[in-house]
């Protein structure tokens, strides 16, 4: 048997662009905003000029969502989104506003916010305060901000789960990210529930920092790099001890695997393939027969899957949808693959609110028309956007899996007591 490597490696550089314009067809921003030059102009075309003379940088590049749909559509392998993100970080003369710094520092803000969560959540719902935030911080008053949890996931884990994790023969490391830690600990709890049921112990990394995606999006590359280096050191230790590192957030996974290398210029090739997504990890363990799942007989759910931009870029939606399809009693519908308009913290900003909602408009209408019990997606900010803009609740595939499995029967199937 011969294993051969294909000569199919794209340089990924702008000179590969053939000016075919296909990327412009798939840019969600271009569809709603005539002031955005579009991925072809902003990316490969503009780069030629910027290399000659940085003064050709166009501030309208700030409209880019960093969704990477241009890259997914490019027939020539040009990393259009990366070219734009780097041009922005290098050339933008705009100084980050206080608001952008707050949004970018999801971990710092989160650790403070969880301490005062009940008061803060009430405040974030109050009209006068939202009005004040709009005026003072340019956070749109119509935007419903994510709620903060009263107890962080990591605190819950230390109190309720840590002690028993060493009982399991196999283990995997969970990169929970800021969202599961500060806003939605239930997601982390559900992952622990599922993994424990199939015989995997869960480890956390004490030194985990924010993945840096929000800082990258705001052009704060030096802060992002500091976080990234710390994360890579933590991940290297875990991988060195033979564990995979899995995230529930598709954007965290994407940042750790690709943005670190392409935007921050960090070498992560030694650990990249050990960084995975929770659904992908579970699916692959199932496929190899390493684990088994048993489902509740009374489980019934009609679910529409939303393809978040960064899971499309990762190419991994197939793991989430395949896993959902395995659940007995679950009817899965696929939404058309399109951006919901949120793009992380992009849609929170007042100047982007209308574009953000216009991008998602047809998706929201589609979701409302389906009559589903919930939407499933691997991205936390898509969840916030869809829940705010439709009447449908949004769950992570892991939430659904945790609800659907029969824990006792699953433990038995996996020879656990």
């Amino acid at each position: 048997m011969k294993k051969q490597e294909s000569r199919n490696i794209s340089a990924g550089n702008f000179e590969q662009c053939t000016k075919c314009t296909i990327c412009t067809v798939y840019c969600p921003m271009l569809e709603v905003n005539p002031f955005y030059p579009g991925p072809k102009q902003a990316g490969a075309d503009g780069e030629r000029y910027r290399l000659k003379e940085p003064k050709y940088y166009d501030e309208a590049l700030r409209y880019c969502l960093n969704c990477k749909r241009c890259e997914v559509s490019c027939p020539s392998g040009v990393r259009i989104g990366d070219i734009i993100a780097l041009a922005r970080a290098k050339n933008s003369r705009g100084v980050p506003k206080l608001r952008d710094v707050l949004f970018a520092n999801t971990d710092l803000v989160g650790s403070v916010a969880t301490r005062v969560a009940p008061m803060l959540n009430r405040a974030l719902e109050s009209k006068p305060i939202r009005g004040a935030m709009d005026t003072l911080l340019a956070i749109d008053h119509r935007r419903i901000l994510p709620r903060y949890a009263e107890e962080k996931f990591t605190t819950w884990f230390a109190k309720n789960a840590l002690a028993e994790q060493s009982k399991y023969g196999r283990s995997v490391t969970y990169f929970h990210g800021c969202y599961a830690n500060y806003n939605d600990p239930q997601l982390g709890k559900d992952l622990v529930k599922v993994l424990n049921a199939v015989g995997f112990g869960v480890r956390l990394m004490e030194g985990e920092r924010c993945c840096g995606m929000t800082k990258i999006a705001s052009g704060m590359l030096s802060q992002a790099t500091a976080d990234a280096k710390r994360n890579l050191a933590e991940i290297r230790r875990e991988v060195g001890e033979g564990r995979r590192v899995i995230a529930t957030s598709s954007s965290c996974a994407f940042a750790l695997r690709d943005e670190y290398e392409h935007i921050l210029g960090l070498d992560n090739h030694d650990v990249r393939s050990s960084i995975s997504l929770a659904t992908r990890f579970i699916y692959r363990q199932m496929e190899r027969g390493n684990i088994k799942l048993a489902f509740r007989k009374d489980f019934k759910m009609r679910v529409a899957y939303h393809f978040a931009c960064h899971i499309e870029k990762l190419g991994w939606s197939i793991y989430s949808t395949s896993l959902l399809r395995m659940i007995e009693g679950l009817e899965l519908l696929l939404l058309p693959s399109q951006c919901c308009g949120m793009a992380g913290t992009y849609g929170l900003k007042r100047e982007n609110y209308n574009y953000s909602q216009a991008i998602g408009e047809s998706l929201f209408a589609h979701i409302e028309s389906l009559g589903v019990d919930c939407v499933a997606t691997d991205c936390e900010t898509c969840k916030g956007q869809i829940e705010m803009s439709t009447s449908v609740k949004v769950l992570h595939p892991i939430n659904i899996l945790a609800e659907a499995i029969d824990v006792e029967a699953t433990r038995k199937l996996n020879d656990l007591k």
Binding site: K2, E5, S6, I22, T24, P34, Y36, P75, E312, I318
Partner: protein, 411 residues
């Protein structure tokens, strides 16, 4: 991940063979890196520009042509099958296996075509027109549609041509970014009340002409866009091709992909095959960039990665090669022989592609890869530009291979 057939390439060739296989109950996956040349679709497919009557004798004069591997008796059936696939996907085609019709290019030339989307203006033959006069509607600020050229073409057909221009507030919004006022963006705008407003303005322009000709900017914002315009205008309304990206092509890519997926096909986009395992003369598995060590395993594999644009074959200053499996590429000649000096002459590089046996199995170092088929423009021996055979080669070889795989499966 296991499938009956894995297709590499998500353009016209991959989608047509994928749809045919999935429709017969096969488990099929398409792995696609980026979107395809369908985005430049003119609305028409060519089979053989010299005429369908010549199809039976192509092999005689062109032994290396992909058509020499196709039974000419099957062309009529392939034509009907193609029309059926497109009709089911919501894009009916006109045309036949007996004779070409004429289509209109964006520069107003009349060219022979095999099949054309029914919303486009077509003619049976030179001088044979069901229309007497036409109003060609230009859109203010839209630079990818040339009414004067189109009028020149239609005058050859004996039509009396009038050019009139309209504007629309929604289009003026797009004009704020001059480079992005394209067919695709116009098409997305044409839904709901802007579409109806557009139709009313067109209606107001029409005098006693019996045909209204619009640029092909319908179907993305509102699937039935053109029919709605026709209902409001109350005359025969047809479209003519624009410069790319083509709104019809974008719709075609989307509708065919949807059709494939609704038949249970798995479409894996934005990925690249980066490795394969070959045992003797069979492919055992593929690996992709996104899925790393996950192995893609199938009984049969179809390579539908296109020509130079789709990177199905790649040219460097030194050589032309097939990048995914390292297949034999023919003909091999010195670089100075790749080109003809006159750009309008037949260019030898157009015929570059992978070598195949009579069943379209490609080869590595002269040895046939038994469970691999090549379809579409990656095949050697065809000059799509000079011969006017681009879509014909794509569709006929895609259908032939799907048919052979299914026949073998049923044995």
């Amino acid at each position: 991940m296991r499938y009956d057939t894995i297709i590499i390439g998500g353009g016209l060739a991959g989608l047509v063979s994928g749809i045919e296989l999935a429709r017969s109950g096969s488990r099929v996956a398409i792995i696609s890196s980026g979107k395809s040349a369908l985005h430049f679709c003119s609305g028409s497919f060519e089979f053989w520009s010299e005429g369908m009557a010549a199809v039976g004798s192509i092999a005689e004069h062109n032994p290396d042509h992909p058509y020499s591997k196709i039974d000419p008796k099957k062309i009529a059936r392939y034509t009907e099958q193609t029309k059926d696939i497109f009709a089911r996907a919501g894009m009916p085609l006109v045309g036949s296996a007996e004779a070409n019709h004429l289509r209109l290019t964006p520069l107003g030339a009349l060219k022979p075509a095999w099949l054309t989307m029914d919303e486009y203006v077509t003619f049976e033959a030179v001088g044979v027109s069901e229309y007497r006069s036409v109003v060609i509607v230009a859109i203010e600020g839209y630079l990818d549609f040339y009414p004067e050229f189109i009028a020149k073409g239609l005058e050859q057909m004996g039509l009396e041509c009038h050019i009139r221009e309209i504007s629309l507030a929604e289009f003026n919004r797009l004009r704020q970014s001059a480079t992005e006022m394209r067919a695709v963006n116009l098409s997305r705008t044409l839904k709901g009340s802007p579409l109806r407003e557009f139709a009313q303005r067109v209606k107001a322009l029409v005098e006693d002409e019996d045909l209204v000709l619009l640029p092909a900017i319908f179907g993305l914002g509102e699937e039935r866009g053109l029919q709605i315009v026709e209902e409001i205008v109350g005359r025969k309304v047809k479209v003519a091709a624009t410069v790319s990206a083509s709104a019809s092509g974008v719709r075609m890519q989307k509708r065919l992909t949807d059709a494939f997926q609704s038949l249970g096909g798995v479409f894996i986009g934005g990925d690249r095959v980066v490795g394969c395992t070959i045992d003797e003369s069979r492919i055992v598995s593929l690996n992709t960039a996104n899925h790393e060590e996950e192995e893609f395993v199938a009984e049969n594999y179809i390579l539908a990665t296109g020509s130079f644009f789709g990177r199905g074959i790649v040219a460097t200053p030194e050589e032309v090669y097939e990048p995914i499996l390292g297949l034999d590429v023919v003909p091999q000649m010195a670089r100075k022989e790749w080109y003809a000096d006159d750009i309008l002459d037949a260019q030898p590089f157009q015929k570059f592609g992978v070598a195949t046996d009579s069943e379209l199995h490609p080869m590595i170092d002269g040895r046939v890869v038994e469970n691999l088929y090549a379809v579409g423009s990656i095949l050697s021996g065809a000059d799509a530009v000079k011969e006017g055979c681009g879509a014909g080669v794509v569709i006929a070889t895609a259908l032939m291979v799907a048919e052979n795989i299914l026949a073998y499966k049923h044995k």
